[in-house]
Structures are given as C-alpha cells and as structure tokens.
C-alpha cells in the first residue's frame, strides 16, 4: 500500500467507495499498526471495511462477533474436553508416565482456537482481525482486549505464553450503544462513518449494482435520503439502499412510484413502529419530497 490514493483505488476495486478521511485512517492503521475504531450508524459499511482490507492485503480475515456475555473460552481458546477424556481412556492401558500423559492431552491438538488466538497464531502473514460490535461485550472483556492489543500475546497456563508471529491489523466497530473505556479508545485510531452524501451514495449503488438503471438509482437514493429526514428509531443505512435497489430490480420495476414503494417498504424499514410512522407521514409525500 503505497499511499492514500492507493487505498482509495484498492477499495474501489473491491466495490467499496472509500472517501479520503476513511482512506487516511486505513492507511494509518496499516502504517502505524494502531487498531482502528470505527463508529457509525447501522448499515453504513463498518464491517465491510475489514473485509475489503483483508481482500486488498490478500490476507486472512478473522472475525470476532461480540455479544453480551462473551468470555475467554469463546473468544480466545478452550480445551477440547471430550477429546481429552477420550485420550485419557485410550491411554488407560499404556505404560506412559502421568507427566507424559498430561503433556499429551494438553498438546496443541487438543486446543480449540477461538478468533483472538487464531489471529495471533497466523503463520503466513498479518491477518485482519475484526472485533465486531465491541460495545456489546462487557467491560471485563474490554479490559482483556486492551491487554491483547498492547502486547499481542496470550498466556495459556498449560502451554505458556504465545506471542504473535505477525501482528494482526485490528479493526473494531461499535454502534456506540454504550461508552467504551477511555483506555481502549485512546489506544485506537478513530473514524466516524456518517450517512453518505447523495452523490456518494449514488456512486456506492453504481459500484455495487452496476446493472441498475440511472433513473431508478437516483430515485432510490433520493427516496432513502428523505426517509432519513423523518425521525425513525432505525433509519435506513446504505445496506437498505442496496436492498431496496435489488428488490426493485428483482420485481422488474423501472421506477419507484407509490405502488413500488409500498411493496418494497419492508426492505427499508425494519420495525413496525417505523412502518406505521412513515404511513402516517404518507408515502406519497415522502416520495414527492424526494424529487
């Protein structure tokens, strides 16, 4: 990755329209080896950044989806207990010493590698580690992650400390449902992805769905933009724009009129409240506002 323009161009090749600020952040992530924290609304392509970066660097993408109650055994490693018990049974008749047996069942064959450990053990090259929706994990896990991000090593009592052969590129995403700890935020580069501008969203649709007609595309994007103006609990993201475009193409609609909008509204709004809200507002009016 030579410079920022190369990042923009490279992301473009994989169908991701990266603007200059984002490209700068990605470039810095690669050059400075600092984790990048990306925040933004749902469906604006936060996760996609990591996927495209991995493709661009021709390396592995390792993804850790965070959730409430995520713990070390599902994030880092776990011993394969069933296999261990089986191994103990098999060894029952053998004349190995206890130490030998123990060494055997705590070998790496019996280790289930979860995403964080995988990212450290990567042999070939630096992988991209995506820690998705970090705000969903709890504070204890955040603290653990902090330690990992500074040392890139993991201690397993039975095996000792494992140090990363290749430091992973780390991307964290958050929907900012809660405040992350200052320590973690300070360790990261930061980028906020807002809803794209009209022009940029048009370009995104053009890049992702080259088959769609010019008129329809412009209608869809304008429509979504005016839907975002209404105060909804879950405003549509870029993902929804693409969904709507795909739906309309699939239904062989050539323009987005009232009927078409009614039929495909489910691909734009995902909650009953929002649906009734936009109906109360009048789909006609929203459509009218967008042209």
């Amino acid at each position: 990755m030579r410079d920022i323009n190369a990042v923009i161009e490279g992301f473009g090749r994989f169908g991701y329209v990266a603007d200059r600020p984002l490209a700068t952040a990605i470039y810095l992530l690669v050059q400075l080896w600092k984790p990048l924290l990306i925040e933004g609304h749902a469906g604006v392509g936060k996760t996609e950044v990591a996927k495209v970066l991995a493709s661009l660097l021709e390396t592995e993408l390792i993804r850790l989806q965070c959730y409430d109650g995520l713990d070390v055994s599902s994030a880092v490693y776990e011993w394969n207990y069933q296999k261990q018990l089986l191994a103990i049974k098999i060894q029952e008749g053998s004349d190995k010493t206890v130490e030998e047996k123990e060494k055997h069942i705590f070998g790496s064959n019996f280790l289930l590698k979860r995403p964080l450990l995988q990212s450290i053990l990567c042999e070939a090259s630096s992988p991209v580690l995506l820690v998705d929706e970090i705000d969903r994990a709890d504070e204890a896990f955040e603290a653990f992650l902090l330690e990992l991000l500074s040392e890139f090593q993991i201690s397993i009592p039975e095996l000792g400390t494992i140090k990363a052969k290749h430091r992973p590129y780390v991307i964290l995403t958050s929907n900012s449902t809660r405040e992350l700890s200052d320590a973690l935020k300070r360790r990261c580069l930061y980028h906020w992805i807002d809803y794209p501008s009209l022009e940029k969203e048009m370009e995104i649709v053009r890049t992702r769905l080259p088959g769609i007609e010019e008129d329809l595309r412009s209608q869809v994007v304008r429509f979504i933009h005016s839907v975002r103006q209404i105060s909804l609990s879950k405003p549509p993201g870029v993902a929804e724009t693409l969904d709507l475009s795909r739906s309309l193409t699939l239904l062989q609609k050539t323009k987005l009129d009232r009927e078409a909008a009614e039929e495909t509204l489910g691909s734009v709004l995902k909650s009953a409240d929002d649906l009734s809200k936009i109906r109360a507002e009048g789909i006609d009016k929203v459509l009218l506002r967008s042209f």
């Binding site: 410079d3 920022i4 323009n5 200059r20 600020p21 700068t24 952040a25 470039y27 810095l28 050059q31 400075l32 600092k34 990048l36 924290l37 925040e39 409430d68 109650g69 207990y81 069933q82 018990l85 709890d138 504070e139 900012s176 449902t177 809660r178 405040e179 200052d182 935020k185 300070r186 990261c188 580069l189 930061y190 980028h191 906020w192 105060s231 609990s233």
Partner: protein
C-alpha cells in the same frame, strides 16, 4: 504545508506546531496524551502527501476518540490552523482566541430545544469555559445544584451528566445480569445427555432459580415548581432507559403521561424534541395524588410487581388533598418492594419536608433522598443495586 518535500528545518517548525495543536485540543477536552502527539507526527510522516486535507484527516483519526470529538475537531482545526493554510508559533495564538467565540456559539445552537437559553456569553465567560474541563471540573459540576447552573456551564454540565449517567446505568444493568449462580446439578438432564457419550459425564447441566430482573418505574414531576430540575431529571431517566428495557418512565403534573417510547429515541436531543411535542401540563400545577390515581388505574396492574423499584422525582408540592396521595401510595407500596422518593429540595440546607403531601407520604417511602445535583443522582445506583442483589 504547500511544499511536498519538507526539509529538516521545516519539519522542526511543523513538529512544534503539531505539539502545540495537540495541547490545544487537550485544553478543549480531548483525552489525547503525549502518545497521541507522537502518533500524530508518525502519522504525518507516513502520509507522505502533504496537502492540508490529508494533514487534517491524519490528525483527526489519531486525536479523536468519540463522535463528539469528531464533530468538534474540524472547528478546532480550522481555528488553530486558520482555515486555509496553517500558521505557526505566535500567530496561531491569535486564532486560538478566536476559536472560543466561534465554538461556544455553535454549542448554544446545538443544545436541546427544551432549554431556554438566555443568550449571554461574553468573552470573559468564554475564558472560563476553557478551564471548565478536566477531572476537577467534573468534580465541581457533579456537586453544583441544578438550579444554580450558570448559562456558561450548561452545555458542559449536560455533557458530563450524560456521560456519567450512561456509565452508571451501564453498571447497574451489568450488575443485574452478572448473577449466574449455578445452584444445583440437574442430574436428569446430565445423565440423559451423557448417553450419547457412553455414559461418561462430560458436561454437567445445572438448574437454578430463574433470574428475575428488577424493573424501574420512574415518575417525574414536570410541574412549575420543578422547572429548574425536571430537565436534568429527565436526562437521568433517559440515561437509565438507554441501557435497560426494564425502565418505564412517566411524567406528570396534573395528569400522567407515559414517555418511555419518547425516551427510547437514539439521541437525547431527539427524545427531548419529541417530548416537547407531547401535550401535557409542562410547567403547570401539580396534583400528585390525582396523577398516582391515574397511574394505578391505567398502568399499575401491568407494571407493578414484587420486582419493581418505584421512583418518584418530585418536590412534593401538591395542590390536591393528601388523603388521595396517601391512599394511592399505599396501593402502590402494597404491590412493590421499594419506593424511592427523590426530592431536589432536600439538597437545600434548611429544607424540612413539611409540605402536607410530603409528610403524609413519608411513612410509605423506603428511601428519601436528594436529587439536586449529579452526585446525588449517581448515589441512587447504590439503592437500586442493593435492592437487586438482595
């Protein structure tokens, strides 16, 4: 930054300017430290093309760590580097001053609609704003009485409040969840499961009491006498609501309105905007008894259980009869486990709860606490948590 190859001397000047800029953003509340300054410089070196935008994006990616900072950053940058071309050394000091006026005006505009800001921010006050950050300022703001907040502190206090309260509510909701006690081994399931593995007990199954989550019901007085406090308390309700679905909020003055839906909006400003559109007796008289009666009639059956912590935020000035209030409180108390009454006036040194309503209600209240500043609101965590971990 117009030349594309920096010679050594240029770079020296740049280093100094960047260091100064980092100090400048820090003085404006950014959490960045020396490490970030170094990262900035490394970043600039890594990003070889040196147009102003790349420069700005680089600094922004390194120095920001939240959306608020992200939004603020461009203003700070423009003020410090003078918009089109960056200036160094003493010259930048000049623009440092201009920024404070620019950015504090922007702030007032962005404040929630519910606050009536009397415009009055002279330069001196802005000078104070500059120092109103950092840990000691947070401590000071935690103790300040909501009714005594200076206009200049308002925006700051709002920010601190929301941050602290969000943290608190997060802790509260965490503690509610982290009680995964495994009481008994469920032998039946364990053995059933072991059949597939030749009768070896590999995984144990457990059974235990079903976890019950506490529900918070918050009733907030928005009548005239509470005017100075109600918006802060509303924020408090909002902050609690963002992290738990088990928070149900109402506002009342002469009648009662459910506002949980409004308060569940993603952004606080949004929530407040929607609330201001609901028609109630904002800043009208108070009928606590009547409002509770209505609550009991409409919502009590659905919301009140042994699991409920009931919070009333009111100063106890009631124009109705105390008998009604007592009757309704008794009714509520019968169904729930804990009744908390938060009274902002308790923060006043010489206040005695002698209003008729207040003294009549006193016997039914489990916790009677002040709610006049942030600290007292944060205290509440203790009561909620002690109850839930019982």
């Amino acid at each position: 930054m117009s030349s594309s190859n920096l010679d050594a001397c240029d770079f020296c000047g740049l280093v100094r300017a960047v260091v100064e800029f980092c100090r400048f953003v820090r003085a404006n509340g950014f959490g960045s430290g020396t490490k970030e300054t170094i990262d900035c410089l490394q970043g600039i070196r890594a990003v070889r093309n040196t147009d102003l935008d790349s420069f700005r994006f680089t600094l922004r990616a390194v120095l920001c760590s939240s959306k608020e900072e992200w939004i603020l950053f461009d203003d700070l940058f423009a003020a410090f580097w003078g918009g089109t071309e960056h200036r160094r050394g003493t010259q930048s000091k000049k623009s440092v001053v201009s920024i404070f006026s620019a950015h504090s005006h922007g702030n007032a505009k962005g404040s929630p609609v519910l606050f009536d800001h009397s415009a009055g921010s002279d330069l001196e006050a802005e000078g104070e704003r500059k120092t109103a950050f950092g840990a000691s300022a947070v401590e000071r703001l935690k103790k300040i009485d909501f009714s005594q907040v200076r206009q200049t502190d308002m925006a700051e206090l709002e920010r601190v409040a929301l941050r602290l309260l969000r943290r608190m509510s997060y802790r509260v909701s965490r503690r509610l969840q982290s009680r995964k006690r495994r009481d008994f081994v469920d032998l039946r399931r364990t053995i059933r499961q072991s059949i597939g593995r030749g009768g070896e007990l590999i995984e144990l199954n457990y059974k235990g009491r079903k976890r019950e989550r506490a529900r918070l019901v918050i009733l907030l007085d928005v009548s005239d006498s509470m005017n100075l406090y109600s918006f802060f308390l509303l924020k408090f309700a909002y902050a609690l609501g963002t992290h738990s679905k088990e928070v149900v909020s109402f506002i009342f003055s002469t009648n009662i309105v459910a506002v949980s839906k409004e308060l569940s909006a993603q952004r606080l400003s949004h929530a407040l905007e929607m609330l201001s559109q609901t028609t109630t007796g904002w800043s009208g008289g108070t009928k606590i008894g009547g409002s509770l009666q209505e609550f009991n009639r409409l919502y009590a059956g659905k919301l009140l259980s042994r699991n409920t912590v009931f919070i009333i935020l009111s100063d106890g000035w009631d124009t109705g009869t105390p008998e009604v209030l007592v009757g309704e409180l008794r009714e509520i108390k019968r169904r729930i486990s804990k009744l908390i009454w938060l009274n902002p006036l308790l923060g006043l040194e010489d206040y005695e709860p002698v209003t008729r309503a207040m003294s009549a209600a006193r016997p039914y209240i489990d916790v009677f606490a002040p709610a006049h500043n942030l600290e007292s609101l944060l205290e509440l965590e203790r009561h909620i948590v002690t109850w839930t971990s019982r």
